[in-house]
Symmetry: C2
Subunit: 367 residues, 2 copies
């Protein structure tokens, strides 16, 4: 195998492929990027057995071939190459030579035959969305998934397509995040549970530009994301997702409108007194025109008044500050409306267009 490419493109392709290289694996070959030089182009593949990525490297193939190269070292070398032009050559003993300027790097590669291939994929009925939207939807919901759990459903996000609406739901037992987005065509009715890990990796690779698009396909047990020379395939999570509409009430006793940034910085100050694994809540004391926010822990106490617009009953309710914070930070509106029933029922934060709904369970408190 022999090909020429630019350092910039090499770094870009390694960065993309690295997202599916496992940090640890019982299969040493998976710590590699599979480098394939074909007549029709150069392709990098990676695979952690849940997620696999194939991305095209722009370059000129002088001699076809396949070899697996250890990803971390490959990436470090690429980053430190002295010149923009890079020539990569391999020989029949699986040795790699990387030349750039007067610098010559020698590495041992691994035979690519054992590398698990990409699953067979049919590409039908794709759903197209701007990278900006998908990246946003993921970052605005992913914090409500658990990184690991026996109940796999809690580690994934529920993607529902209904005509031209995409609705994404995540929940972790203490809170729910729902985002709605409009698609630019009717995509029928479909629903799947996509692992949080795949979504988190894809949101790191996507450019996030409004004009760049990404298309995804549901395909048996897989979801496939496709954009600009890159294919990402992930397993899906099997099962029936929770019925969240039953968890969200539309009747409220107290409604409060508050400046979002003001509330965030106030909760941020209160959170100073909460150490990890500490369950001390912050207490909202909601009265006409005023929210008094307070906390008292062995570390100290804090209290602060925030002006609000309120409708309905006065209320005192406790929350885990982190859960409220995550939801408030995922919203872009200057003002948010929070809906309460009583001190033991969840609080809902949502906008009038229903583009977002965040639900947070309260925490019991004793005074």
């Amino acid at each position: 195998m022999k090909f020429i490419c630019s350092r910039t493109n090499l770094i870009k392709s390694i960065n993309i492929a690295q997202r599916a290289v496992p940090v640890r694996s019982s299969m040493p070959i998976l710590s590699c990027i599979l480098v394939q030089a074909f007549d029709n182009g150069i392709f990098f593949q990676s695979n952690d057995m849940e997620l696999c990525i194939e991305t095209r490297l722009i370059g000129t193939v002088l001699e076809t071939g396949i070899l697996a190269i250890e990803a971390k070292m490959f990436s470090e070398i690429a980053r430190k190459l002295p010149e923009e032009e890079v020539v990569i050559t391999t020989n029949e003993r699986d040795q790699v030579l990387i030349v750039s300027g007067s610098a010559r790097f020698h590495l041992m590669g691994q035979n690519g035959d054992e590398f698990p291939g990409l699953p067979e994929i049919t590409r039908e009925e794709g759903i197209s969305i701007s990278q900006y939207s998908l990246k946003n939807i993921i970052s605005q919901t992913i914090f409500c998934t658990l990184p690991q759990d026996q109940n796999l459903m809690l580690t994934g996000e529920y993607f529902e397509i209904d005509g031209s609406e995409l609705r994404v739901t995540a929940l972790d037992g203490h809170r729910i995040a729902i985002r709605r987005s409009l698609l630019n065509q009717d995509c029928g009715k479909k629903s799947v549970i996509i692992p949080g890990k795949a979504l988190s990796e894809i949101s790191k690779i996507l450019t996030g530009e409004i004009d760049d698009r990404v298309t995804f396909y549901f395909n048996g047990n897989h979801v496939v994301f496709l954009w600009e020379g890159t294919t990402l395939v992930s397993n899906l999570i099997d099962g029936n997702y929770f019925n969240t509409s039953r968890m969200i009430s539309s009747e409220y006793q107290t409604q409060m409108v508050v400046n979002r940034q003001r509330l965030i910085s106030c909760i941020d100050r209160a959170a100073l007194f909460v150490r990890e694994n500490d369950k001390k809540p912050i207490i909202f004391d909601i009265t006409d025109r005023n929210l008094n926010l307070s906390i008292e822990t062995p570390l100290g106490a804090m209290s602060e008044d925030v002006s609000i617009a309120k409708e309905g009953r006065d209320l005192m309710i406790g929350f885990n500050p982190k859960f409220l914070m995550d939801a408030l930070r995922a919203i872009e509106d200057e003002e948010v409306t929070m809906y309460f029933i009583n001190a033991k029922s969840p609080c809902t934060i949502k906008d009038l267009q229903n583009s977002y709904t965040y639900l947070v369970l309260p925490v019991n408190f004793l005074r």
Copy 2:
């Protein structure tokens, strides 16, 4: 105690005082900053039993008093205060109230009586230097000290004053760093060994501006640094420092002039193949007009040519890449001159003005 100050000044004074708050200590009081409000000003003190700092906080004292406040929490609160104006009040039960805007923080302080005071200091025959120079001298030598060692001498830096010359030496058994600097007055003949820790903390606090000055005094077993409302006192290290002039030869067999940045990036690439605790050297093969730099480890191999100007014999010599790198990075010249005797003798990097001298021991290598 009661005083008013600005958030900006509060954060600044806490940042300075925090540098002498130990991360861990058997004396809980040392995790505090001692806050003293006197008629003549507000002073913050900290002490880790090797280093102590006193710094003045600009503010208005409404009621004098003394209290020790846990440094970490104090710092976190100061950083998150909502408004610029801050009022700090304490009561006879050692409680602290910090008010800024509508936010009120309550904390428990500790009685300041147990707090170890600043040592008694006479301020005579001070040595004045620009903060810029002192900060530079420290950063250009400190990497040659050991953080900890039975031989305390290796953990400190040797400060020699001879008339209007300051000479600072650090060595760790594998390498030596020497920096010379001119003082703007004759300061007589003095020499002391200052702990690396004190120097490293002071270089973090100094502004580094050419026009800001710092004065230091040697005072029995202490060194005192004094600038803009801040006093830093450190213990000195007792003993006779090494005779470094005997370690540095002035006779050379090979002399090489090389572009510093070019050599740094080349060593940086070679260092990719060295893992921590790995003793594999990089090998310099010096011939007329060319330096071939190469390394071979179980991770791979690398080789690169760098053009040089050379005088004297050809030479092949091995080095720990980190040691060479540290020295080269501490130099600001575009080109450096390196002097060699043979493959088993140290290499010296120095300029014609003798403003810096770096000596690095070679590493044995087998081909």
